[in-house]
Amino acid sequence: MSKAIIEHSVASETFNKDEPYVDWHDETLWFVRQKRDKSSKLLPEWEQLREVASGIKNYVLSHMDELLVSFEEKAKANGVHVHWAADAAEHNEIVLGLLRQHNIDKMVKSKSMLTEECHMNDFLSRNGIEVIDTDLGERIVQLRNEPPSHIVLPAIHLKKKDIGDLFHEHLGTEAGATDPQYLTEAARQHLRDKFLTRRAALTGVNFAVAETGGFVVSTNEGNADMGAHLADIHIACMGFEKIIPKQEHLGVFLRLLARSATGQPITTYSSHFKKPREGQEMHIIIVDNGRSTQLGREDFRNSLKCIRCGACMNTCPVYRRSGGHSYHNAVAGPIGSILAPNLDMTKNADLPFASTLCGSCSNVCPVKIDIHDQLYKWRQVLVKGGHVPQAKEIGIKAMSIVLSQPRFYQWSGRLGRSVMRTMPFMVNNGMNPWYKQREMPEPPKESFRDWYVRNRKE
């Protein structure tokens, strides 16, 4: 995937060309956010539950090595093979190696954002392996040759007409059909055939338990279980931060996860894998891929507490109006924007700027990650490191000069107000990005400071 990266602001502009579409996207995600609110308010202990979850995850960050070693030991005792991958390439090689060892060239996969991060499907397909994504939303975007635009709702950017057309082309559904029930049934039949004929299944991991060596996979569709229980070999891939100390901690996280994600009290299936079934092979791949570096960044390590619920995306005014693909990263939205610069500062320098810093993301985060503070801190790191475009850097420097000199600031304000009043075309034109999709209020005649100075004298 060496596609040239389009900056978030540029991609958003394209996304915003179709106004009714953007409104629909915005409202759809806001609806999901409202479901989360309703569901969370049914639990009087919700805020304390977040506090506890955050506390457990803080403990995890500071005991990461011990927990992983304990997990490995228990998993091995359970008859599970444990692999370690330092980066995406090693992870992909391990998967390929396991498939080749078993002479398998077709595999079903349930949702795993980690494999998206590693661009595993592309790698495997270049090596002659066919991977079928089995989550309905993921299958849809896979058929379109697109990445998911949301970690929980992969096809949230598509209208049912798009999906009807796609299924007509690939699954032979009736032309023009848009009924979700009918389209889902077609996908069920199409994917059931894959489940029944594939010998390998790959799943993600929502939580790995150090105490038992087991891991939990949550789905609503049942696709992770359909794949894993029918396959000869089950490969589960996890970023190392998925570890939690004890099984009882699942009580905290499973209460938070689905409520934060979609407003459901729990996902339909919370599958607890510990030992392979008789005759089956089970493998776990523990992946670093930059996580241990992020763990060392004091200001940003909290991002590793994330349980991938997507609540920060659903609430984000920028995400809702720019769409997941504008973030050019496996994980989009606010959380993606604090994870991505760790992977590549140059490529992802635009992402921490794709935010209004309103703080809504931090307020909904079930593990209390200080997302908007981190976005703000990344901006400083990226500018200091010379990773932002010169125009932006010059702008920031100019702002800093103006804001640090009170008299100059007062003069600039007066000048700005008079220009906006007398020559609005000077600022309200295509050259000024602040005027895109916005109507500015009329500038006041005087600043608050002038008003205050005048009135105090009277």
């Binding site: 803080n58 090595d65 309905l136 999906i163 049942g222 009580g251 339909t268 510990k274």
Partner: protein, 196 residues
């Protein structure tokens, strides 16, 4: 140095200083009636709850509900005569024909309608997923309030288990809820009144 060593070493160098585990991690839910909450939650997630007096009443109710269905399977001995599909197969792929499976489960959780099932009650892990329709039988007394209580109760040491809450579903097409994604298209829970 292996990747394992490399990763662990870098974690040791980079991890933050010691933090302690929260002292208490559990909360109590005070429902007026655990059973009513369980039923209410399940109704909201498209699951019918049927209370039956005992196993004889269960046999009668099941016979009535699934009279016209072919390919019926069960793990409950008393329903053995009702079933026409044997679970005595070696390859789970053979379960694909099953139309309805009625399975023994261990307990249910009122706050979210989830039911715990595991290797202890199942000969095939694929069964609750591959069957077209699914029903569980649990003791009326075997209900807990919330997930903290659930994990206190859960002493399962088998190799696999799952909380299942309602039929399989998806909303991946324009957020329209569709029941019956890959797993069961419908779900019924029988609550057994008499203790075994």
């Amino acid at each position: 140095m292996t990747s394992r060593e490399k990763i662990l070493q870098q974690i040791r160098v980079n991890k933050p200083s010691e933090t302690i585990m929260p002292l208490s991690i559990r909360f109590d839910s005070n429902f007026e009636s655990t059973e009513n909450k369980f039923i209410e939650t399940l109704t909201a997630i498209y699951t019918e709850v049927i209370v039956v007096k005992n196993k004889e009443a269960l046999v009668a109710k099941v016979g009535e509900l699934y009279a016209s269905v072919v390919n019926r399977a069960t793990t409950i001995p008393e329903l053995g005569a009702w079933a026409d599909f044997s679970l005595n197969v070696s390859d789970p792929h053979e379960l694909e024909m099953i139309e309805i499976a009625i399975l023994q489960a261990e307990f249910g959780v009122a706050e979210n309608g989830a039911v715990w099932i595991s290797d202890r009650y199942l000969s095939h892990r694929a069964l609750p997923f591959i069957t077209q329709n699914l029903a569980f039988v649990i003791q009326r007394k075997a209900l807990v309030n919330n997930m903290h209580d659930a994990y206190e109760r859960l002493q399962d040491t088998t190799g696999w288990g799952c909380f299942i809450a309602g039929p399989s579903k998806t909303a991946d097409i324009e957020q329209s809820l569709v029941i019956g994604a890959h797993g069961a298209r419908s779900m019924v829970i029988f609550l057994l009144e008499d203790e075994e």
